[in-house]
Symmetry: C3
Subunit: 222 residues, 3 copies
């Protein structure tokens, strides 16, 4: 489906903008902003191809993708306020991008003959690794691990794709259904502020401690 | 040796628990906790297989390993206080896991025909990378680089394995001896609080400065 | 050119010293210092070989390179003040190292038959990734993304190499010209304090906001 490819190009550009904004928050220089932009947009596929040995990685096979991501980063430098004002549009496009990344990642590993469980992991990795690399390079804890219903939607969409392929749904329909499903669920999660429960180790071990016995510190306590 | 495999499974689970606890300290959500658990348990082998091109990586060949690590992370969410109370047992199991990781990593590279020095590096990488990835994702400096006699024991155990293979010790005996050696030395290091000296750049360059001449700031000073 | 190889060996050693100093600033132990030293010196080539699948990675093919980097790190532990005093020499050698890394990286990918754009990216990656890994492991934002004219010089040198090869300049002359060009431009950037403009997202979006309308927070705002 050609449409999926266009959504993908839009997706890497939107991701690159989110990377450029994060870099600008840390006052990086123009090179840093473009670098983080490219890593955020194309890092997901890169991590996937390195982990699963599905070389060549995307932007080596198609170096012009780098023009989209660095162009989007440059645009962010030029008109930051306008982009900031378009927050809602941005979230919608990002949701669409997540859908495209996940399904393209899952597909790719299936085409390479990987087992279905592995293909599902590949979809997840493609969907979330770009943003994780952005946060690591910006010295933050990856936001995808802390809040928002994001990764689990990618995981669910990937499972759905594999399941539908299992019951012989044609690829075009499968892509259409799963991309739409990821997109809509993600939008709903944003609008309803649905999040996954958090695990607060200090608090939850404390709570039980009250009822409990004497306590030794954990090994990795510094 | 089948036993080594069981120790390995125990090892990835224990490592996953340590990852889940670290994630809980940073108040990650349930997905983040399971993700960090899996990365901590299986990251060492993953980094090794990516670096040394010994694909497929462990959990691609055996996706059910992900059940152990994510199961262990889930367990940590459910009974954090009980796990915290079992600190001593935890340290003992972690020492055993380190031994298994290191020897399995060394073995694997030897089987792939890598030179012995490279196999030793592979053992080290397998032993310490999971915890390093955990700390990077949790936005901490990797503890293995800062304190505790841990990495050097892995390195020593790996050297011992290669040396014993050199003098024709049978694989079973070699595994038995080296796993035991790493395990016991690690336990001793914990109990006697043996650590490697630290390099305090500010202090040690200051000390000499006193006796010294005028001083220019270093390039990477911010 | 044999000379390029010697500059390379000098380069990984100088990089290792910069890694060891960074590790010492974070009070890592001796193992951590040597580990960071090796990663800083050899990480650039490692990231390149993993990304572009040009295995075996440098230090697997030539494990004795690890002696240079860990030796340089040990030296830093022994005589930190003397090294600190040699700041200017250090900067000159580092500039020479950057030149060697970049050109060797570019060359390697061309030899592997990669498209020219990809080879240019390979030169950049080889030049900057070691320092980036050092900063990530030390829990800092990579300095190469924040300040100093460094990465762009590597990029420019890599482009120059590819361009000269295009017009049939012999490899020896090409290496000589491009290494010298990178070296001199880098020295000039240091002496004249030339930097790339920075992108301050908070400030630049604020400035336009003044003239603007109501404002919604960005998605990844925590």
């Amino acid at each position: 489906m050609m449409l999926l490819h266009y959504i993908f190009l839009m997706g890497i550009s939107v991701e690159a903008i989110s990377g450029a904004i994060a870099a600008g928050r840390k006052r990086m220089d123009f090179f840093g902003v473009m670098f983080i932009g490219c890593i955020t947009g194309l890092g997901g596929g890169t991590v996937r191809d390195v982990l699963f040995n599905t070389h060549p990685i995307t932007w080596v096979a198609h170096p012009h993708y780098l023009l989209y991501t660095s162009g989007a980063a440059l645009l962010t430098i030029c008109i930051p306020a306008q982009l900031t004002r378009a927050t809602k549009l941005f979230l919608v496009l990002d949701a669409l991008g997540l859908a495209a990344f996940t399904i393209i990642g899952t597909q790719r590993l299936l085409i390479y003959g990987m087992p279905e469980v592995v293909a599902i992991m590949g979809g997840l990795v493609t969907g979330i690794s770009g943003g994780m690399l952005r946060d690591i390079l910006c010295n933050d804890i990856p936001i995808v691990l802390r809040s928002e219903l994001y990764a689990v939607i990618a995981l669910g969409g990937s499972v759905l794709y594999v399941a539908l392929e299992h019951v012989q749904v044609t690829p075009s329909w499968n892509i259409f259904i799963t991309v739409l499903a990821i997109f809509l669920v993600r939008l709903m999660a944003i609008w309803r502020h649905i999040e996954i429960p958090k695990f607060d180790y200090a608090e939850s071990s404390m709570r039980t401690r009250k009822r409990g016995r004497k306590q030794a510190p954990l090994p990795s306590d510094e």
